[in-house]
Symmetry: C2
Amino acid sequence: MRLYSYFRSSASYRVRIALALKGLPYEYRAVHLLKEGGQQMQPDFRQLSPDALVPVLEDEGQALTQSLAIIEYLDETHPQPALLPAEPAERARVRALALTIACDIHPLNNLRVLKYLKNPLGIDQQGRDDWYRHWVESGLAAFERMLAGSPRTGQCCHGDQPTLADLCLVPQVYNARRLKADLDAMPTVVRIADHCAALPAFEAAHPDRQPDAE
Amino acid sequence: MRLYSYFRSSASYRVRIALALKGLPYEYRAVHLLKEGGQQMQPDFRQLSPDALVPVLEDEGQALTQSLAIIEYLDETHPQPALLPAEPAERARVRALALTIACDIHPLNNLRVLKYLKNPLGIDQQGRDDWYRHWVESGLAAFERMLAGSPRTGQCCHGDQPTLADLCLVPQVYNARRLKADLDAMPTVVRIADHCAALPAFEAAHPDRQPDAE
């Protein structure tokens, strides 16, 4: 398997955790999103990734895109350890938690969105940072309510073993802290993110540990 | 089953199509997103939906959130007709198409985001419309490349039967047309969306056919 990744991309980070939890070896190919022009805009990469986004996972001649689709694929092809529970309603809870981050927080704070806010919209650095924190803080506050209100929350988002929800949460909290978002009102989020981040597979997937880390 | 929906919410529209394709009866509960204060902000609704978003599906005493998680749940609990193919790599393709809309287009054009652009950011109507069309057009252009570049594309996004990808595409194209986005450069998107929209289940789920349509 070959993973096209950028060390700081939180969608790449999710997939790296899944690969590490399942103990799957892979070749790391760095795609630098910030270099002039953006390596993700090069024709050979766009051949693999029609939306010019990382991560892309190549496996058995197929190029797979979209982090959550890649993780579900890995979970179906390498079922142990399982990243989703067995029961449909429990699977729905874990997927809903993951999508709360993947749909309601992360897309708003993507690099291309922050660029558009700057130009053409002319929003200054302060305004862009406020935007970032607004969506992180309101999104993680909803996530906190989902966790705190459920008896199924354990050491991890769902029980005591990492699931797809934790794979989304840890990179999002890492980003939130980088941007100095206020996490005081979400103790369950912080407790679970810190618990998971200390597990070996999460540590191995950390941005600072990647070949392209700066 | 009971569905909390807003007729024009494209995430609600996706779930309505799934329920119709599977022939599942349900009680329709309208949640008006635009009324003063927003019905989605009422405490009893937020009890069901911690992120104050529609749709919510109640089934067997559980309140399920996030449209894609709800649709996967319906597909697991009512497998016929299947909304995902059987093979992992094909499932990954369908999910990646769905997520291209659900993560890369739709969240940027949500009501709450357009409101934030207006206030506090002070972006005028023209700027907000340009924002909307920018993300729809660039996102659907990527979707077009994913469709046009694959032999697995058929009458629908994946083969000739509707999948999760079509459930996301039809509401997104409906919205794109409402906002007069330019779809000229994406003939496959338009062909497939129009084919699916004419199927009875898609027609039954159309915003204009809902009890709260205006």
